[in-house]
Amino acid sequence: MRSFNIHRVRKLLDFIFAHKHWVILLLLEAFSLILFVGDGAYRKGLRLYAYSHVSGRINEVLSKARDYLNLHEQNEYLLHEKARLESELITLKRSISDRDAESIQLMRDTTSVTEYVVARVVNQISHLGDVYYMINRGRSSGIAPDMAVLSESGVVGIVLEASNRYAIVIPVINTQLRLSSSIKGKGYQGQLTTQGLHRPTILGGLPLHADIMPGDTVVTSGYSYIFPEGLMVGVVEENSLDGIDHAASAFGTYRIRLATDFERLSYVYVRISTPMSEAMDLERSLVEKSL
């Protein structure tokens, strides 16, 4: 009887060994199905472990990778958000200063900012040595000639022409553009001009007695139909006038370091403002009358 049992066990073992792959298949399937069907502590523990350790860590890495791929989108979003905040800040500053000066009530209404449009610089055009920029927003985005263009650091220039989808910007580093600017906190006003590409930018027309020091901030004066006062233009670099043509004159002339880095200009903000054509027509009629 005993030898019969041993024989049967051996036969069974031989059978199992001969078909071990089937046995392993059944064991692995059974293990998987118990994990899947069962709702016991082990399953919960495995889920918890997987969630807190392995899956959590891997998903974090994958999430970082996804974030990296979405950087461009996020950057666009941040630029829009920054433009919106900047727009609100300028509007707020404007409304505070306007409230202080009730006498220019009418002016506030006609120059109120509606919004900023973010545009990408798609091309730099060098026409006869003067620089122009092409941006990827045009009339369809509300952009029109004579609108102010800013960078995240300061003034860039003015919209010269606009087609439906593109616009050309004349920057302050173009010799054709003169920008009325003032020294922040000191009130002296002058004209910001440049003498060409890679040539110094200068602020001229200032009184000779003006106490202007290197590091003084230059901002827009507000004597413009395009730029409101107080927008960052740059800083006084030095009061040495070496290398500047016609520097010796009846007015003080200073070399300016512009706040906008034109070498790395990739995005700009176009200030969508109420057209000032009525005021400009009025000024033109005055000039014609005086002639």
């Binding site: 998987s32 199905l33 994990l35 899947f36 997987a50 899956s55 891997i58 996804r66």
Partner: protein, 171 residues
């Protein structure tokens, strides 16, 4: 299984599982078709692999995926059976005395490689969707999801296999 094949399978497993977890599993084309790319990893195991090796490899891949997708046992069960049956599906396709260290791709099996992948994928999908439906078994819904998923997964897998064949031919 040579070191090159082992390393290739390891690297491919990492990449494919990452794509499956991060991109494909959260995706549901037209609300029904979830692409499953990871069964293509079974096609990166040499043709000479014995059933036990196939079992352990497919079970490990399935368990890893289950840990990442928080579905303990679901993918492991489906892939283990598909991996095991790959041996029996492949055996009649092999030529006697052929190189057993090659992968079952177009370069070694011709069009039979795509037929083999279809067989493996059908087994995998039937088990996967049947388990996934569980007690709430609804034949019509399951069939629709299974067939839709199968078509998308097959197209995706064939694309990967074509790329593998192109690389093999260049060498």
């Amino acid at each position: 299984m040579s070191i090159v094949n082992t390393l290739r399978l390891l690297l491919a497993s990492v990449i494919v599982l990452a794509i499956q977890v991060a991109v494909l599993s959260p995706m549901s084309l037209l609300g029904v078709a979830v692409p499953h790319l990871y069964p293509v990893l079974l096609m990166l195991i040499p043709v000479g692999a014995r059933p036990i090796r196939l079992l352990w490899i497919s079970f490990t891949i399935g368990m890893l995926l289950d840990m990442l997708l928080l579905t303990p046992g679901l993918h492991a069960s489906a892939l283990t059976l598909a991996g095991f049956l790959r041996y029996y599906f492949l055996s009649p396709m092999l030529d006697r005395g052929g190189n057993l260290d090659v992968l079952p791709t177009f370069a070694s099996l011709g069009a039979r490689a795509y037929f083999l992948y279809a067989e493996v994928l059908i087994v995998h999908h039937i088990v996967l969707y049947a388990l996934d439906m569980g007690l709430h078994f609804d034949f019509v819904t399951m069939s629709m999801r299974c067939v839709a998923g199968l078509l998308v997964s097959y197209a995706l897998g064939v694309l990967v296999m074509l790329l593998l064949s192109i690389r093999a031919n260049r060498r």
